[in-house]
Amino acid sequence: MKRVKNIWTKAVLFVALCLAFPFGMKAQDVSDSFFHIDWQFNVPLNNKFAGVASGWGMNFEGGYYFTEHFGVGAFIAYHTNNEYISMRTIQMTDHSAVTMDQQHSVFQLPFGASLRYRFIPGNMFEPYVALKLGAEYARMSSYYNVYKSKDDDWGFTTSPEVGMTIYPTSNHNFGFHVALYYSYATNKSKVLTYKVDGLNNFGFRLGVTF
């Protein structure tokens, strides 16, 4: 039992050293490009349609540092948020009504260009800030009974982001990526009696970087 406890103590110390030691240390290489593949968790903010957070999304991003600190790139991401709407009567017009439950769904597909600034090039931990601009395709759908109503729209999107790339090796060929983001898209859609005018989100991304 005591031996097991010692092993745990050593393991915790080892992990702590691995995490702490590289701070302030210069790695051997400074990468001049980046490519991320991330899983993302998206939280709709004040969206009146499919406003439940979910992890049904991914992010792909690549770019090039044209100076040691500044980089430009391109990104594409997708995400789905769903929400169950319990049985209720909806007034469709002033003379028609429908009673049903629904599954609401919003699918977002933003893509475009990104500009980023990294703070400690060549470090094991490379924190950065980024701004993304581009277009967004969004589709809102309502599933009810055996039917589906949907509407899609194109909009403009912008997304500030803070993140960090973590390189466990000195050559920076492979690493991990974490990020926090906020995004806003100008998409407008209408399904049944539900309207969306702008999509606000925040969330985080976890992935790998090359």
């Binding site: 439950d101 599954q103 769904s105 009810y144 009974n145």
Partner: protein
């Protein structure tokens, strides 16, 4: 322009990544849609007539009617609701100022491709206007937007107040209709209960339908 084709292809591929919600979570009850003529005074009617069978709409070229105990229970649910709203059932059509016709769609595929929302008027054996007297056809005073699927029950309320003519030129007004649809189970008893629940819900969401 061709340079955008790969981009569009990539976007198209990504749209396939949409995570569709689990529709198994949806309730088993029928969807209930009701519509009515806002200009009609439902309090002006007194007596209604309803046939003792439900028209079955299927692939058959002959008119078929559903008359078993399950059908009678669904009809009875409609009658009970009408009577609770203050209307009186009569046994003769010519004594009624309201007519109720109920239809049940058995086969969705038969109707695939119909774009006219009034296609059921042409169905063989559909409630012909002459059934109610000397009438020239139907009309809806409001826009009809529904379509049909497996397990759909249609209930229509017809105004018989307008005086008949001898020329068959006047049209009967469908002043209220309820469209109830849903997935069916293999149990007739459960399907009947679903239909009865739907009929009751149709009246619940139509509070204007009263004497």
């Amino acid at each position: 322009m061709k340079r955008f084709v790969p981009i569009l292809l990539v976007l198209f591929l990504f749209t396939a990544c949409e995570k569709e919600p689990n529709t198994d979570d949806l309730d088993d009850n029928f969807l209930v849609y009701t519509d009515y003529d806002k200009t009609e005074d439902f309090g002006s009617f007194t007596k209604f007539y309803i046939p003792d069978s439900i028209l079955l709409i299927s692939d058959s070229k002959e008119a078929q009617y559903w008359k078993d105990d399950n059908a009678l229970r669904i009809i009875e649910a409609c009658v009970d609701n009408m009577e609770e709203r203050g209307y009186q059932r009569v046994d003769k059509k010519d004594q009624a100022d309201l007519g109720i016709q109920m239809s049940y769609v058995e086969d969705t595929h038969y109707f695939t491709g119909y774009s006219d929302p009034y296609w059921w008027w042409d169905y063989p054996g559909y409630w012909y206007p002459g059934y109610w007297g000397n009438w020239g056809g139907w009309y809806y005073p409001y826009r009809v937007v529904y379509s049909y699927n497996v397990g759909s029950l249609l209930t229509e309320l017809i105004s018989l107040e307008v005086n008949e003519t001898t020329t068959n030129t006047k049209k009967l007004s469908v002043i209220w209709d309820a469209y109830m649809t849903g997935l069916l189970s293999s149990s007739h008893r459960i399907n009947t209960e679903l239909a009865i629940t739907a009929v009751n819900q149709a009246f619940i969401q139509s509070p204007y339908l009263k004497k």
